[in-house]
């Protein structure tokens, strides 16, 4: 594992990667319980308080758009104090650029954000921090996510989650949409982060400071929300549908919703499917009897 304790600061110095959902389709939908500007002001206050807690704390904000994602704020570049103006300006530029990209492609039905992209960006940034200096702050990722899961990103997101798990970076998720996110539930469950869907979004700041401002050191001593249930359903590789039951390639573990002659990932040839499960079981058991 990459992080070595001696390379880290003592106690509570943290590097917080905030992935902020800026998907216009989500924020403009009528189902959204509160406005983007309200959300933004609460998040900015939260970022301020993180920087306030420790002078060595570092905050990086990545905007997760519909078509793209980009870094919009990095506290290590400034003088430590959060300059809301620079962040907002970068955010505006990003949203415009994201919109332009949209015109070239058609909008698909669900309208999910590019979570896989921003997760990978966050992990890349963390890897760079790991490899740069002799000592580095303890990193963690916070996803402020509202839009629905895009099953098409399943493989990419799972890969990011496992990579985060390997480098021992917890992924916290705060779901601000109306539905639970199966991806983020799994992400937090696997990496040991906190998953929370706030009941009252007006008090988002209090949720953020109470739960997500907790540094990794203090998490050993504080009561934090426990996972109630995790949706472990996977998406199939062929049609990107979320499925309960399916076919799995015995060689590379790819998931399919229908039977195929050949695995599309590793190319192994499959035999005929056993239509009745009970008969195959009996056949296998036969030699034992």
């Amino acid at each position: 594992m990459t992080p070595v304790s001696s390379k880290q600061y003592t106690d509570d110095v943290s590097l917080l990667m905030v992935l902020m959902d800026t998907n216009p389709l989500f924020w403009s939908s009528t189902a959204t319980p509160f406005s983007f500007s309200k959300f933004l002001s609460q998040v900015l206050s939260f970022l301020n308080s993180i920087i306030l807690l420790n002078q060595l704390n570092q905050v990086v904000v990545i905007a997760t758009g519909f078509n793209s994602c980009d870094y919009i704020y990095d506290s290590s570049l400034g003088h430590g104090n959060l300059r809301a103006e620079t962040l907002l300006q970068k955010l505006e530029e990003f949203v415009i650029k994201d919109e332009e990209l949209n015109k070239q492609e058609s909008v698909d039905g669900i309208g999910s954000s590019l979570l896989s992209g921003s997760l990978s960006m966050a992990l890349c940034y963390i890897q760079r921090v790991f490899r740069s200096g002799s000592i580095h702050p303890q990193p963690r990722i916070l996803c402020l996510h509202g839009s629905q899961d895009g099953p098409g990103q399943y493989v990419a997101i799972m890969n990011s989650i496992f990579s985060a798990q390997r480098s021992m970076v917890p992924i916290d998720s705060c779901v601000i949409g109306s539905q639970h996110s199966a991806f983020l539930q799994q992400a937090s469950y696997i990496t040991g982060g906190v998953y929370l869907k706030p009941q009252q979004l007006d008090g988002l700041f209090q949720y953020l400071t109470t739960v997500f401002a907790t540094d990794l050191h203090s998490r050993n001593f504080l009561q934090l929300p426990k996972p109630v249930g995790v949706d472990f359903r996977a998406s199939c590789f062929c049609h990107k549908n979320t499925i309960d039951m399916g076919y799995i390639c015995s060689v590379c573990l790819s998931i399919f919703c229908k039977h195929h002659k050949k695995c599309s990932t590793c190319g192994s040839a499959f035999g005929q499917p056993q239509t009745s499960v009970s008969t195959s079981n009996q056949k296998r058991k036969a030699p034992d009897n």
């Binding site: 003592t10 301020n48 306030l52 420790n54 401002a213 540094d215 050993n220 001593f221």
Partner: protein
């Protein structure tokens, strides 16, 4: 004047020992609130943040519910600290249930910070007014050099003439108090705490000096609360930026001059204006002591044969090594010495402990050996500890000697009596003599008078 004890105490301990009135006044300054918050233990910081927007008192029991069983002791430490610094005001109601709420002033300042973001205490001067500013590296060198110069000056009063810029003699006296013992005839000698002081790392030394400086401020007619708030404010300035002297008041200007002598600040003079540039020493003031990021490069290599090589050109380093080692020769960039029994005995008699010497050697280990575990050979550290324990072979216990007992019975009874108190140190039943600890001397006397 009580003996100043050298502990690596930090700024905040000193702040918390201020009277309540002064402390409340300090919180009017937003920078102090920020610095205080940052100095708190992690759990305490969390509590402050959690309570930031809660306007009603919160009971101790609901606070307790936030923590897991493992965290109970940390929780207590955090809450105690918050009360001690008067960040929490505690009220106990009729049912003996304690409730806490945040200090109003403190709460207001932090809320402002959270909403508006941090600001700088004063704007740096525009680059076109100032002449060429020193680079960060130059500034670090300047600070290190100035500090070293000050230390040399401190321990070696004979060198006064060598240093070009010197601190006012009265200030020097203040700093030397406790570190040096003045004798009229033979000049000054380092005291026990003086030796310990030299072996501390720069940050700890700085704290000690600043602490002295502040505790002495009242004598100079400066309010210690004002001074503390200025020093903390200073730590929020940006290293290497120039700030105009005109933004300071009269007292602060004097303070800045003193601090410049210590290397916390570099003063520069332009054609019209003059300005000050905070160095790393100043901006690190509010950072906790144990922060490893401010540690300097090590320079000492210790070999298993007790030889010691110090890659340093510094005179101060040489002086420090001389405290516990025999310096054999000095090359332009290298000091060669050896750790000998005689020198260590001298060090021990000066009040330096083996652990201090070992931790000094470990902390200042040359990067090449610092990677190794252990950085100082085990046989050397063991031997240093053994030599120290050699000196502690004889334990002294104040005692009283009893003789000439009238009869064997009285002697036996006296022995049993002393044994009951487990204070019997020695007995000789043939000669009827015994020795007991001083503590029970009075009881013993009383007991014997009853026996007669």
């Amino acid at each position: 004047m009580p003996q100043v004890k050298i502990i690596a105490k930090n700024f905040m301990d000193m702040v918390s020992s201020l009277p309540a009135m002064k402390l409340d006044k300090l919180y009017e300054n937003a920078f102090i609130c920020e610095a205080i918050l940052r100095s708190l233990p992690p759990l305490a910081k969390k509590y402050v943040l959690q309570l930031l927007y809660i306007d009603v008192p919160v009971s101790a029991s609901s606070l307790q519910e936030w923590v897991l069983v493992d965290g109970a002791s940390k929780h207590r430490v955090a809450v105690d600290r918050l009360i001690q610094l008067r960040v929490f005001t505690e009220t106990v109601d009729r049912k003996k249930e304690a409730t806490y709420r945040l200090n109003l002033m403190f709460q207001m300042n932090l809320r402002k910070h959270v909403v508006h973001g941090g600001v700088l205490p004063r704007e740096p001067m525009a680059a076109n007014i100032t002449v060429r500013l020193p680079s960060l590296e130059e500034l670090d060198n300047y600070a290190a050099q100035q500090w070293e110069c000050f230390l040399l000056h401190l321990i070696n009063s004979a060198e006064v003439e060598v240093t070009t810029k010197s601190i006012s003699p009265s200030m020097m006296k203040v700093f030397q108090r406790g570190l040096l013992s003045q004798r009229d005839n033979e000049g000054s000698r380092l005291t026990e705490s003086g030796f310990q002081f030299l072996l501390m790392d720069t940050n700890a030394q700085l704290w000690y000096i600043i602490r002295e400086y502040i505790s002495n401020s009242e004598d100079r007619g400066v309010d210690s609360a004002d001074l503390i708030s200025f020093l903390l404010e200073l730590s929020f300035h940006v290293t290497g930026e120039a700030y105009n002297m005109n933004t300071l008041d009269e007292i602060q200007r004097i303070t800045v001059k003193d601090l410049a002598d210590l290397g916390l600040i570099k003063l520069q003079q332009g054609r019209k204006d003059s300005w000050f540039i905070p160095t790393k020493l100043a901006t690190n003031l509010s950072i906790s002591l144990s922060d490893a990021s401010s540690r300097k490069m090590g320079y000492v290599v210790v070999e298993t044969n007790f030889r010691l090589y110090a890659y340093s050109t510094s005179k101060l380093h040489c002086e420090i090594l001389r405290l516990f080692a025999r310096v054999e020769y000095q090359l332009p960039n290298l000091i060669v010495g050896s750790i000998t029994k005689e020198n260590l005995y001298k060090a021990f008699s000066n009040g330096i402990t083996a652990d201090q010497i070992i931790s000094f050697l470990q902390q200042n280990a040359h990067p090449r050996v610092a990677e190794k575990v252990p950085s100082v050979p085990e046989n050397v550290t063991d031997q240093i500890r053994l030599w120290e324990s050699d000196l502690n072979r004889v334990e002294m216990t104040p005692a009283h000697f009893f003789d000439d007992f009238p009869s064997r019975d009285v002697f036996e009874a006296a022995c049993d009596f002393a044994r009951e108190y487990s204070s019997l140190l020695w007995e000789d039943s043939k000669k009827m003599q015994l020795i007991v600890k001083t503590e029970i001397y009075a009881h013993m006397k009383e007991f014997l008078s009853h026996q007669k």
